[in-house]
Amino acid sequence: MKKIEAIVKPFKLDEVKNALTKIGIQGMTVSEVKGFGRQRGHTEVYRGAEYTIDFIPKSKLELIVPDELVTQVIETIERAAKTGKIGDGKIFLSPVDEVIRIRTGERGRDAI
């Protein structure tokens, strides 16, 4: 099992979610996050004063998938989230040791 975290542009969230549902992904966790990468912050001028916007709002998706789905899920996110411009986001992949569904106590694959 693997955990896939994807940071995407907020307006791409729906598209990514729909694309994932289409390939049979049934659950994910979504949160609103802020951060910056190569895109950096930018400065905006408001009534003569300069304000630096350091952190740019993004959406983060987290999902746990069985190993054999990793390639397809990543490809799907890449395709759906891509605009080709700076700030499209990143995808992180990490191993997951165990998953437990609290209500039933199911473990592993069945609990995903």
Binding site: K22, I23, G24, Q26, V70, T71, Q72, L93
Partner: protein, 856 residues
């Protein structure tokens, strides 16, 4: 809780597996859907009854909707339920829903449930087409039957057959939106069996329309028996594919990915290997075409039926076109339904009218065309009047592509030109050819029409003006339509196609001159592209040989136009500015050759070059260098460029390496590298470029007699960050050359194995050809194989290890296939001509390129 249902999650999986093995899913796919639906029915009923008995249940009814309502449940489809109650007041349902759904979820079923009252349902069905279609397919499962009966009666009486046109209109909008999404080439290669164009959803659309309009669930009853048989076979095939997709992937996956294409083809008993996949995909394309024809036909029947008001007034708007056809509201119709039977040649006239009056045909007329397809026989195909009308349609040059599409969709085209049937739906199992051959052929005509109507005036002015000069455009369009006609049969498709097009030309009664021209174009339709993309256009011999084959300027023009349209119609990424400039260069050089007469394009004399250099550089410098410059080098660059190169070379006394570049269009650059020649220099350069994601398109490599290496490259960076990448390339190359860094180390960092498995895509076999005929001074090595990171570095390294000197390289990428061409000599500056040495060279390259060998 699971034990109480008498089934567990694993048990359910087991049932699915048994179904997959036991009942051959591909012989009766629909049967499998029904069987599985019955099993789920049992489970759902039992759960519901248990739930009802354990909570104080109000009087409700459980209904199956959607695909489950139709008893068509693929192994991992959604199970859609509706909990129906009669009272307007919402009873306390959550405990009942919880007790029903949780056990089903725990079994791994994908269940969704909505709860509504009868009146809510009816109200929603009036405004929401999705609720409406859900109810069309609803089926009673358990609970209070009366409630279901009330709903269904009211629904049938008050909603289903009302506002049919609005209903069809909203379905049509849904279709357009959905298809637009799946137009992306990625989805054409890996189609979605359910949602894509001609998918299972489209079939339901057609069925719903029939249900609403004709009040029957027997969709086959309103089609001709032949039609419904073909449609049924197509559906069975799509269902079979979908069942296998679900069973193999273990989830609700409807997209036929390459990986699953490879797995499913043998299960459905297609021939082994790539051919089987291509056969399966052909059947898929033909089937989805049938389904889409059905759905669009049904929608049109409703959408384009004149409303009663219009009907009454339409007598005034009618216009008689000739003794057989009339027109009203932009639609052409038959005056007498038996016309085609009496005189089939009127079929062609009908298409001509559609073009002339920019009209569609009424759906009754379409039906009449379908019905009269059997009358199209050899007499029709050889009839002079029919063929003249067909050619005049082509000649007119407007809307030709839409008329051809119309002919194609109605099945007329493949009756009229039976050879065309063989290429229908035929696909290549690769990443480059997006469309099936028939679609590609029509798109090729479309591209020419776009040129003709000056759509590309801005970006392609030369081609746009050339097509206006063509004397008989109809012959060019006809050839474009048939250029790949040989792909339906075994053998080299250009040669087979040549025979077929002559045969077609004879049947159409074309002149000998036209037939000869068409034969030439089909036989040679890949020739210009091969020369432009794989040969050194600086070599005089290349142009000479090309010109001799093409024979005259008219042939050249036609071939250039056809080559353009052919590439453009392959897919959105096939035509690139780079290919455009290569083809244009070849066209212009060859035209000049024809204008000036044969043999006058000679290599510039060395003395002449020196004379020009003396105007640009001080005489002492010119005399320092003139003896070192090889003739091949002199003929490859202009005097200004040579002068500049000499200035660069002079700096080598102080500098190790000089790299200069000019950037074109943001993404491509021309890079000049000047340094002292050394062993493996070229592969060090390509390695450093690869390291910086610079994609090499072309390379010219020259070594002067004084040991100065002067190489020029055309490179590309798809991320549009080329300036930064080139800067880094210069730094990397110079540290590799001065020994502070090792390319091997840098590359291995880049090639850290990823734990992500590679996506399955069509494989490309390695093919290596050694050619000693096409160039006077060089052996040409043509390598085609699967593209992967750093492949060019590996090839050049292998050539260097073999003691070869690379003079010129041209690299093209077609999807995931590369075709790399190298002009080489051995260490003594000779061609490699002995059979044994050629064999060894091939073997070295083959060893290096065989997949799996990623050693650097």
């Amino acid at each position: 809780m699971q034990f109480e249902l008498g089934i567990t999650r694993d048990g359910l999986k087991e049932i699915k597996n048994r179904m997959a093995q036991g009942a051959p899913t591909h012989f009766s796919p629909k049967e499998l859907l029904r069987q599985y639906s019955d099993i789920v029915d049992g489970i759902v009923r039992k759960t519901f009854q248990k739930a009802q008995s354990s909570v104080s249940a109000p009087s409700v009814c459980l209904v199956a909707v959607g695909g489950y309502g139709r008893s068509e449940l693929a192994p991992y489809s959604d199970v859609d339920l509706l909990l129906l109650y009669s009272s307007p007041q919402k009873p306390d349902l959550p405990p009942l829903i919880e007790k029903t759904l949780y056990p089903l979820w725990d079994l791994g079923l994908d269940v969704s449930c909505s709860s509504r009252s009868v009146s809510e349902c009816l109200k929603m069905a009036q405004s929401d087409p999705y609720v409406k279609t859900g109810l069309i397919d609803s089926r009673y499962l358990d609970g209070e039957y009366e409630i279901f009966r009330t709903l269904y009666e009211l629904f049938s009486k008050k909603i289903l057959h009302h506002k049919v046109r609005e209903f069809a209109d909203s379905l049509m909008k849904d279709v357009a939106l959905r298809h637009q999404k799946y137009e992306d080439p990625a989805y054409v290669l890996e189609p979605d069996i359910k949602e894509g164009k001609g998918g299972l959803r489209d079939f339901q659309i057609g069925r719903w329309v029939i249900r609403a309009k004709y009040k029957t669930d027997r969709w086959d009853s309103i089609l001709f028996p032949d039609q419904s048989r073909i449609l049924d076979r197509s559906l069975q095939f799509l269902w079979a594919l979908r069942n296998e997709l679900h069973l193999l992937s273990g989830r609700r996956l409807d997209q036929l990915t390459f990986e699953l294409q490879e797995k499913i083809a043998p299960i459905l008993r297609f021939s082994p290997e790539t051919r089987g996949i291509e056969e399966m995909m052909r059947q898929y394309h033909l089937s989805s075409q049938q389904v889409w024809n059905f759905a669009s036909d049904m929608l049109e029947r409703v959408l384009y039926e004149p409303s009663p008001v219009k009907k009454a007034s339409s007598t005034f708007k009618r216009k008689k076109l000739d003794p057989f056809f009339g027109m009203s509201y932009g639609e052409i119709y038959l005056l007498d339904p038996v016309t085609f039977k009496r005189d089939p040649s009127q079929l062609m006239t009908l298409f001509k009218h559609c073009q002339t009056y920019q009209a569609k045909m009424s759906f009754q007329t379409e039906e009449a065309v379908l019905e009269s397809l059997p009358f199209i026989d050899d007499r029709f195909r050889t009839s002079e009047s029919v063929n003249q009308v067909f050619l005049s349609i082509l000649k007119k040059g407007e809307r030709v592509e839409s008329i051809l599409k119309m002919m194609h969709e109605l099945g007329f085209l493949s009756r009229y030109i039976p050879e065309f049937a063989e290429i229908e739906g035929r696909v290549h199992y690769d990443l480059y050819h997006v469309h099936p051959v028939d679609i590609h052929s029509i798109l090729t005509v479309e591209e020419l029409i776009k040129l003709k109507t000056a759509t590309y005036q801005k970006e392609l002015p030369l081609l746009t003006s050339l097509i206006q000069e063509i004397e008989k455009p109809e012959i060019l369009f006809l050839t474009a339509l048939l250029h790949d006609i040989g792909k339906g049969l075994e053998g080299d498709h250009s040669k087979v196609g040549e025979e077929l097009i002559v045969q077609i030309g004879v049947r159409m009664g074309l002149s000998d001159e036209d037939k000869r021209l068409m034969a030439f174009l089909v036989r040679r339709h890949l020739f210009m592209l091969e020369i432009a993309f794989r040969r050194d256009l600086h070599e005089e011999g290349t142009i000479l040989r090309f010109a001799n084959e093409v024979e005259n300027p008219d042939h050249l023009k036609m071939l250039y136009l056809l080559t353009f349209a052919d590439i453009k119609a392959v897919g959105p990424e096939a035509w690139t500015p780079w290919k455009n400039s290569l083809l244009m260069e070849l066209f212009l050089k060859t035209s000049h050759f024809f204008e000036q007469g044969k043999g006058t394009v000679a290599l510039p004399k060395k003395e002449e070059v020196i004379r020009h250099l003396l105007k640009l550089l001080p005489p002492e410098i010119v005399s320092d260098y003139e003896e070192h410059l090889p003739p091949q080098y002199l003929s490859s660059y202009s005097w200004e460029e040579i002068a500049h190169h000499i200035e660069m070379a002079r700096l080598l006394e102080k500098e190790l390496l000089l790299v200069e570049w000019t950037i074109e269009e943001n993404a491509r650059a021309r890079v000049t590298v000047c340094t002292k020649d050394r062993y493996g220099l070229f592969s060090k350069i390509t390695g450093s470029m690869f390291l910086n994601r610079l994609n090499i398109l072309e390379a010219q490599i020259h070594t002067w007699a004084n040991g100065v290496a002067l190489d020029t490259f055309k490179v590309e960076d798809s991320t549009r960050d080329i300036e930064r990448r080139l800067q880094q390339f210069r730094i990397d190359l110079s540290s590799v050359l001065d020994g502070t860094a090792f390319l091997r180390t840098l590359l291995s960092k880049r090639q850290e194995p990823s734990i992500i498995q590679r996506k399955v895509i069509p494989r490309v076999p390695v093919d290596i050809r050694v050619n000693n005929q096409d160039s006077q001074f060089f052996t040409i090595v043509e390598i085609s194989g699967e593209d992967r990171l750093g492949i060019l570095y590996e090839i050049t390294q292998a050539l260097t290890d073999h003691g070869c000197d690379i003079h010129f390289a041209r690299i093209s990428t077609l999807g995931n296939r590369i075709v790399d061409v190298f002009y080489i000599q051995d260490e003594w500056g000779e061609k490699i001509e002995e059979r044994e040495r050629m064999g060894r060279l091939k073997q070295t390259l083959l060893n290096r390129l065989t997949p799996g060998d990623l050693s650097i």
